[in-house]
Amino acid sequence: MTPEDTTIAVVGDGFGSLLVYATAIYVGFRPEQIAVYGPTPYAVATYAGHAGNLGQTVLRSESESHFLPADWPTFAQLDAWSRRSPAPLLRSIRRRYNPGLAEILTEARTVEDRLGLRARRIPKRIGWLHRELDPEPHFLIYGEDELLLGRARHVAIALGHGPVSFPRVLAQAREDPELRERIVQAYEPKTYRDGGRYVVIGAGIASVNEWANALEAGAKVISLLRNPAPEEQDLNTPRCFFEAYGIDAFQELTFEQRVAFLGAILKGTSPRRRAWIEIVEEGIAQDRFDQLIGEVDEAKPGPAGLSVHVSSRHGPAPGWLDVTGVVCGTGFVRSCLATPLVRRLVDSYGLQVEDGRLVLRSNCGVPGLDLPESRLCAMGLLANSVVPHGDTIAGLKYIARRFVADCVEAEQLRERPLGSRLRMQLSLARAASGAIRRTRESEQLA
């Protein structure tokens, strides 16, 4: 395989890669100047898999968080145009609009296809990045098989989330083949049985989805919470932290203050959705849903398939429960060290890690490796000590735009003129709108 020489490389092939690619093309880079490294066939493949397992039908994002390079049209405007209906606009005005999953993934696929991202994919997982300074600063990009795959002047690391996370006791119990299929993560494939008894751990969006899915299948559910009252908030990051007010203030904090702040805002939140509330209320009325406070501290085979012992720091312990299965809405491992490439970079270049987070520069640059003329920029969860909503579509867009702006400056690129930008944006919007029209309309839940 001949190594690919490009100006920009994106290590990781999810949403972040698409946003960097689309923004770079929008401002004037040519497709052959960009390479995206990663094994999945489409930028939405991993997300679609997780969302499918979760039974998710709408995104929590707002109307601006989508995959066209510029902020107009918003997704609500695009949806309204596609369906020839003012309903998305009216919902958006009242802040009751959430992009449908099918619609937004369709848009992402359309943008990807129209901008030729598929041809710029190098379907290999990256194992190592090596900084070279001669004859000019660049990075050597190696696959996990240690083969040199490419060179690039600027690299964005957009690896997405780490592996799914389980409470320690349940992770150990999963090693027992008899119990493995009874302890699952919300993001894994699963089937609920009519009359089954399930414990769903957590109260975030993934867990609430699972309550509804299990109840709809006719099962009984106990929702298990570690703490008595999770905060109720639509988005994990406070709204103004998506924009200048918040991000400017956040970046003024020290790293320790930022980590403490993230610890406070990233705790479990339970968003309200009309349909979920109705399903859960119906479950409560039919004695099929209850909520307990506690943590699983033991698991073993039981008469219903699995027995779990639940203890509580907030009052009497529920004790042993006989259940069909346990579903963990506990998200992903947040430590950056769970990602092999990052762990190798940390080990080899002596990068600083605090509280599981890579200490980055204020431009999301990796200290010691990032140079103005050859950027190494982290995106997504890796970067949320700099951009608090770094792992949302809005946050990825925020970082992608600034990373690409740095590349433009370093390369002294002649930017695409306004007329050409407008044509490109309209052509993408038109194509996306046509594709959205062919999808089944997602039901709004808010």
Binding site: T23, P69, A70, R95, E243, A244, A405, D406, L418
Partner: protein
Amino acid sequence: MCPTTLGRIETRVATLFLPVLLATILSIATRDEGWVVTIGLYLMLGVALDVCIYQYLIRWQPPWLTGVLALVEFVLLFVLIKVLQPGQPGFADPNPLPGATDWHPVVLYWVSWCLAIGTKIVVLPLLFLSRIEDGGEFRRTGWTLPPQRRRVPLVAAPRPDPHSTAVAREFSTRFPDPEPHERQPGPAAPS
């Protein structure tokens, strides 16, 4: 969005470009400065509201609020026009209550508002990629705090005990050093 005060003012000025153009043409065509003065009053009123009211009252501005603010600003501008009576006789009704000839400033306001909101929604995002993220400000797309402008970790400030840190005590002659000083060459000495 969560506009900053600067973002509000910049957006207001930029989005009134087309209304100013329209009002200027109307003023020349009708030989009545009332059109362009009305837009000037609208701009001044808006900036005053941005600086004195909105920045304290509104942090996050949902889309529906933009419509409500347009109505409020319309009422305020109408009152201003009634008080100041810009333009030639006949541009607006001189009576304090709404009258037949008031349609001139009323239509001008709503046409201008539509042009301004169109510019804000469609044109500005294409011109300034990160405008919404930057609180409505026309910043060049960039990081809030470039690494070279990060604060140094320690800034000198008056404190009750100037010798509270180990390094200050070590330098101070008030505290005897445990070992004799090593005499090093001065900074300007040849190495």
